[in-house]
């Protein structure tokens, strides 16, 4: 049975929000404004071990974004976000020997290091891809969250690697008015309207040693992570995404998924609704991501992807794909391969 965590469950220690709270203090955000609609008091924030619900963490972020109303807020928050204040995990990141290990630590420890957005990375077909999905269903906050997390990884790698890494960025949004912020904080290789929030890099960079890396210290820190207790269970949306990804070729259903999660279909539906989503939307998202991955990394054509995903024929697949992404596969495939 797969365990999962919901948006209303206290699970994020206040100390992990230190970067956000420091920034708010530095920018002189009034406490009343910062805490609006969170149900928190000053005393809660003063206790570093107090646990916030993901909902409260998202609300804190939304409050800061709204009151500062500045295009660079998400990027500046990202600059300070990683390695973060996550105890042994952050320490392990700090000692990572290379990009590969850093990405492994980040993805394995995402529930603590970046609880609001889930990173996943894979290496295939001469490309390493790190992509992000929503952990708790905050579609309106997704653009700033993505800016923040991409900046966090970019800035951390630049710092620990001692040089700017040649990331390319795909963003699931139209080109914003503040594109200069993306240029300055991420880099010049930006593509918008991508249907996926991803950072791409040549795999040659994965194993290049980092000057600060220390195998022994990293191993010790990771052992410390294990000693800190059982890892946090993933969020519902993350757990479901992983489950669907594993079973994407078996035509997963709501009933089957509910059984795997050990709840009734009605309960799973209700829990998904609490995250502003429903089963079909999640399934469509995973299928679209898999299709794009097959296009880009394996060079599949429509026929091959349709067959892989269990569609009767390419026409059916094309129609569905258009529904998921608003684009016919050939257009998106061309756009992906052009990079």
């Amino acid at each position: 049975m797969i365990a999962y965590r919901q948006i209303g469950e206290p699970s994020i220690p206040v100390r992990h929000q230190a970067a956000l709270l420091d920034y708010a203090r530095h920018q002189e955000v009034a406490h009343a404004v910062l805490l609006r609609d969170t149900g928190l008091t000053d005393r809660d924030l003063a206790a570093p071990d107090m646990l916030l619900t993901p909902h409260q963490a998202l609300q804190l972020l939304a409050n800061v974004m709204r009151v500062l109303d500045s295009a660079d807020t998400s990027f500046l928050l990202g600059q300070q976000m990683l390695p973060g204040h996550g105890g042994a995990l952050s320490h392990a990141l700090l000692q990572a020997q290379n990009l590969r290990q850093a990405l492994d630590i980040l993805c394995a420890g995402h529930a603590r290091l970046c609880p609001l957005l889930t990173p996943r990375w894979r290496e295939e077909g001469g490309l390493a891809v790190l992509y992000w999905t929503d952990s708790f269903g905050a579609p309106s906050q997704l653009p700033p969250l993505v800016e923040m997390h991409m900046t966090a990884v970019t800035a951390m790698c630049r710092w620990l690697g001692g040089e700017r890494l040649p990331w390319r960025y795909c963003l699931n949004r139209s080109a914003p008015a503040h594109v200069e912020q993306h240029e300055a904080h991420l880099g010049g290789e930006l593509r918008f309207n991508c249907h996926l929030d991803a950072m791409l890099i040549d795999p040659a960079w994965l194993d290049r040693p980092w000057p600060r890396g220390n195998a022994m210290a990293a191993a010790n820190a990771l052992a410390g992570v294990a000693a800190e207790g059982a890892p946090l269970v993933p969020s519902l949306l993350t757990a479901l995404y992983d489950y669907l990804l594993d079973n994407i070729r078996l035509a997963p259903t709501l009933e089957g998924s509910a059984a795997a999660f050990g709840v009734s279909p009605a309960t799973l539906k209700r829990h998904l609704a609490r995250h502003g989503s429903h089963f079909q939307a999640e399934l469509d998202q995973v299928r679209a991501h898999v299709a794009m991955q097959l296009f880009q990394m394996r060079g599949y054509d429509n026929e091959a992807v349709a067959q892989y995903l269990g569609f009767h024929d390419a026409t059916n697949f094309r129609r569905s794909f258009k529904r998921w992404t608003g684009l016919v596969p050939s257009l998106l495939r061309d756009a992906l391969l052009r990079s």
Binding site: E163, H178, E189
Partner: protein
């Protein structure tokens, strides 16, 4: 800012109260059916509007001659029209002159406001001189960055478009400047120190510009320069000079000297290319590490 002007506000309130008392004691209340609603609305409305202008003026300006003239004049207009309005509620004998004098306050107030406007114009010219290198030709208060008080990228793009449209064929250069290793300053000393570095660099650049040049904070640790009537070679020379000036600067953080160096890239802004593309191209040129570009400056053809 309103606290600064507490006495002015109290005096205006007292004048209004005195007006009411004066009419109530010396005049005779008119019966309800004689009230002329159009007069009440127009005169009372004028008084309320003028009152709100007094508040706007006082809450947005420091003290001084111009503020006194503007706010005082508006307050006189307010009291004058309020007296005019009281006229509608109380009958005053035809022989009394005092109510006419009260109504005379309106033109006197207008004279004061006019006088204030005149001096305000002078004040504005002086301020424009200060702001010259930070804004050109039009003002948009929303386009200013909080940390450096420089205009932002949006303002820059509008200026480039304006330059291309208004003066086609004239030379114009665009330079992007980037602080080397700024992220290390932020990591080591914190964001507050990073902000101080941005301010210091902004000041240094402003001091070394000509009057017609425009300096903007592009994004993050990037500054942009728009140089009208400047060729590319001249712009590159100027960028090198600016980088050298900033390099000479001594910035101290926690009793430790932090060396600050700039990288730069320049291009011809008069070319018939949209500002977005032009800036993206420059940003890409800046991302090339200095060693492989052969020097600290890059020119984009």
């Amino acid at each position: 800012m309103l606290q600064l002007h507490r006495s002015t506000l109290i005096a205006s309130m007292l004048a209004l109260v005195a007006c009411v008392v004066l009419y109530a004691t010396l005049g005779v209340a008119k019966p309800f059916h004689l009230w002329k609603w159009t007069d009440i609305v127009s005169e009372g409305g004028t008084a309320i509007m003028a009152g709100s202008w007094v508040l706007f003026t006082l809450s947005s300006r420091p003290g001084g001659l111009v503020t006194r003239l503007l706010a005082g004049g508006l307050a006189l207009i307010m009291v004058g029209s309020f007296a005019d309005c009281m006229d509608e509620f109380f009958a005053v004998s035809k022989t009394a002159r005092w109510d006419h004098w009260l109504e005379m306050l309106v033109p006197v107030g207008m004279a004061c406001v006019t006088c204030g406007m005149y001096y305000w114009r002078h004040e504005q010219f002086r301020l424009n001189e200060h702001l010259q290198k930070r804004e050109r030709l039009f003002r948009d208060h929303r386009a200013f960055d909080r940390i450096t008080q420089l205009a932002n990228a949006d303002y820059l793009r509008r200026q480039i478009r304006h330059e291309q449209a208004q003066r086609p064929g004239r030379q114009c250069a665009l330079v992007l400047l980037d602080i080397d290793g700024f992220h290390l300053i932020n990591r080591e000393f914190g964001q507050r120190e990073g902000d101080r570095v941005l301010q210091a660099v902004g000041h240094m650049l402003l001091l070394n510009l000509r009057n017609d040049d425009l300096l903007c904070r592009y994004a993050g640790d990037r500054f942009a320069l728009l140089l009208p009537d400047t060729g590319e070679a001249e712009a590159a020379a100027m960028a090198r000079h600016l980088a050298a000036m900033v390099g000479q600067m001594r910035h101290h953080a926690r009793a430790q000297r932090v060396p600050i160096t700039l990288r730069h890239a320049s291009t011809n802004a008069a070319a018939d290319v949209g500002p977005e593309l032009m800036l993206a191209e420059l940003a890409r040129a800046l991302a090339v590490p200095a060693q492989s570009a052969g020097m600290a400056g890059v020119a984009v053809a």
